[in-house]
Symmetry: C2
Subunit: 456 residues, 2 copies
């Protein structure tokens, strides 16, 4: 252990920032299973994928052998506007908990998208621009990914069409207006601008939409409009690759002060943040260089790791996207409407699923009232108002720190603070008013949803 004083916030210098992303799959002994073509059930080829994704992203999606992939200068320059993100020593939280544990968090919220999503959005926009495309399409639910993508597209002067689930479009006007300020066109889904949208509106007049429907509309527009491709903010291998910048910066900062983490904690929805945060640490663990306890935290309302099945499934409820092998609750699974804390995806990144199946990481699920309680405690003592998603990791970091208090162990805990909760204040209001409840799916609900897995 170094004798250097650890500052409240460790910022890397620009010249210390990573110059390449780390492709964890290259070092995995058991590679994640390939995506399958939903019609032929054969592995997706580059040609299959290039109708949907632009060419370099298709390559990144399929590449499980190259360990480091250079970050193009144009992306590194954009990263310099909001990165390196600080690695913060939670001195005040440690004191409040009266724990001998040392707690650090990597804070990704200091940018207008309010989260880590921008790390991949800017990369995906760059490759689309480089290929000479006119624009990209995507779907967004709560709007975090849509915001990040609209920022990235505005920077590269690329058209950005966002299909936003209608109920969010109407209930989250702030997110919508951020996207519009960055020049994106935001369409409430289902809409009359697509065939699938018109069909759904005809079959279900008055529907408030779903993520599955928004994906279908975005994919339809991307594949049928000249010069457009579809982009996605989580789950995919390419996204894990771009997000490795989080873990790489974290590791450089820790190494600089000779800090060795014992436990690394991240929230997990589709897995983009967790996959990025743990990448270089998991790489070392796989190579047997050093050991780390790695914990994925998921909501008890949407427990894909802890109660799902490891199987091939559709990535979207519309069942038009490739099949992925992952821990899944079934593509028709929808968390309770009471669930406010994000991380609502029914499945999990193939890479993380394989690592979990190989017992290289643990997973726990937590209930939302205890998550918001941890969020409030953290806000009051560390200043930052955390996103509900991030607060899942806070809850477990606090639990681990309190265990250290009991045992007297001076463990070093690192967790990912993925973003801020400025656009989640309806959920905080519910919590502040004591109106928030927990709502956990029954075994029967999960079994029913899993009964519809595709035959592979």
């Amino acid at each position: 252990m170094s004798t250097k004083t650890i500052p409240y916030k460790i910022y890397l210098e620009e010249k210390e920032m990573p110059k390449a992303w780390y492709n964890l799959r290259a070092d995995m002994k058991n590679k994640p299973a390939p995506l399958l073509n939903p019609e032929t059930k054969k592995p997706m080829t580059a040609q299959d994928l290039s109708a949907v994704f632009c060419d370099e992203l298709t390559q990144q999606e399929l590449d499980d052998t190259t360990p480091f992939i250079d970050i193009p200068d144009e992306i590194r320059n954009f990263y310099k506007m909001y990165r390196p993100s600080p690695l913060v020593r939670a001195y005040c939280l440690e004191k409040k908990l009266d724990t001998p544990a040392k707690i650090y968090y990597k804070f990704e919220g200091n940018n207008t998208s309010g989260s880590h999503k921008l790390n991949s959005a800017i990369a995906q926009a760059y490759y689309a621009k480089k290929q000479g495309l006119k624009g990209v399409t995507t779907e967004t639910g709560a709007g975090q990914w849509g915001t990040a993508l609209s920022m990235a597209c505005s920077y590269f002067d690329l058209d950005c069409k966002v299909y936003m689930v209608k109920v969010s479009y109407e209930q989250k006007p702030f997110r919508r207006e951020v996207m519009r300020t960055y020049g994106a066109s935001v369409v409430p889904s289902p809409s009359t601008t697509t065939k699938i949208g018109r069909k759904i509106l005809e079959d279900h007049p008055g529907t408030t939409g779903s993520l599955g429907c928004a994906i279908s509309e975005a994919v339809e527009v991307a594949t049928e409009t000249d010069g457009y491709r579809y982009v996605l903010g989580s789950v995919l291998n390419q996204v894990m690759l771009h997000q490795s910048v989080i873990g790489l910066e974290t590791k450089i900062a820790l190494d600089k002060y000779d800090i060795h983490p014992d436990i690394i904690i991240g929230c997990a929805g589709g897995g983009s943040n967790l996959g990025g945060l743990i990448a270089p640490f998991m790489g070392e663990k796989i190579k047997g260089k050093t050991d780390y306890r790695i914990i994925a935290v998921e909501p008890a309302s949407c427990p894909s790791f802890t109660r799902g099945k490891y199987a091939y499934d559709f990535c979207d409820t519309g069942m038009i996207c490739p099949l992925a092998k992952m821990y899944t609750l079934g593509s028709g699974f929808i968390p309770s409407a009471n669930h406010a804390g994000g991380l609502r995806f029914h499945g999990m990144s193939s890479t993380l699923s394989q690592l979990y199946d190989d017992k290289l990481m643990e997973a726990v699920s937590v209930e939302q009232t205890e998550v918001f309680d941890a969020a409030q405690k953290f806000a009051r003592i560390e200043g930052i108002l955390p996103a509900p998603e991030s607060s899942h990791a806070i809850k477990v970091a606090i639990d681990e720190a309190l265990k250290c208090k009991e045992t007297g162990e001076e463990k070093t805990i690192v967790f990912g603070l993925t973003g801020t909760g400025y656009f989640d204040l309806f959920a905080y209001e519910k919590f502040n008013n004591g109106e928030m409840s927990d709502d956990i799916p029954t075994d029967e609900q999960i079994a029913a949803s899993l009964a519809n897995l595709p035959q592979v």
Copy 2:
């Protein structure tokens, strides 16, 4: 000029952060005029002030001779959680404008209050706690100051009562919930919790409140409740003192890279940001060490510097607070309801008013449609979604950079980016929809308001 490469963001190390605030008044040749007791018209004494403010803040308010005042360790530790704030080189904006000017901005938005207000809130909460008080009261309009104060009080475990103008309480539920998350009690004003509130409700049933009324309620509670004091987020000398941390950090960062600014630009409402940003530069200018062009930017809808009168006036519309000599539009002046860009105070800090009267700084006013246009341009190219207040400074910084493009001069421009616009999206929506207009007071309106200045 140094040959060092200037990074996108200059972060000071913790050990380089200021250890004392700078009290510009100590170096002013013409001191700002003293506050007057509204009844006796005599200068306010420490005893007069200590009924409203806690003792050390009273001292700071009256001290115009001590140039540096140590920042207590407890406050410096809190500063370390969100400071130093970055001094950003606006490389992308320079490129977009194709200007030879070098543009820097000091960004104060990387904290949950979303602005520089926290710099003074934490100081005021600290001194209240140190004096053994139970809590503080304040008013808030849009909620930026109330948020900062609730964060500070939660950190020091101090009770915080915020009187929030009723129309904002209802229309800005997000701000209200942030404050509640930090444990503040937020009361819509006018309320039945005070004598003045009950009287106003009786006289004007159905009123949606005003800042003047909220101040009156907060002061009544502070002065009539044992162990409470009132705190204020702008205008006062003590606030300028605390905010000097902005300018001190800026100067240290510039000096580190041998950068000499030619023009320093800040938005000005009550003057807390501008006063803080320019303090050390103005100090050098007064001493004749070096010259800087310093520009205050105010909204054309509330033009106290450019169209107001330099005179004693009330600080509040309720006329219960001390009289201050300042550039003012009259304490009854209310900007058009169309005005969305903040900076609504009718007067200006006494310190800045004296400096302006001494021709040590300039002032310009700008209209809100051009302000939001500059905000949108800035967001799209520099990533950060700026607060409307801050965007006044962006507008003039862009104007000055474009002048450099015409003349070919390589001037260095520094401006204050006081905060983020995450809670101002109704205003952005209006702008995005093309529904925003300019609304400038007529000469007759200003004359009518100035006709009611108090006799001194």
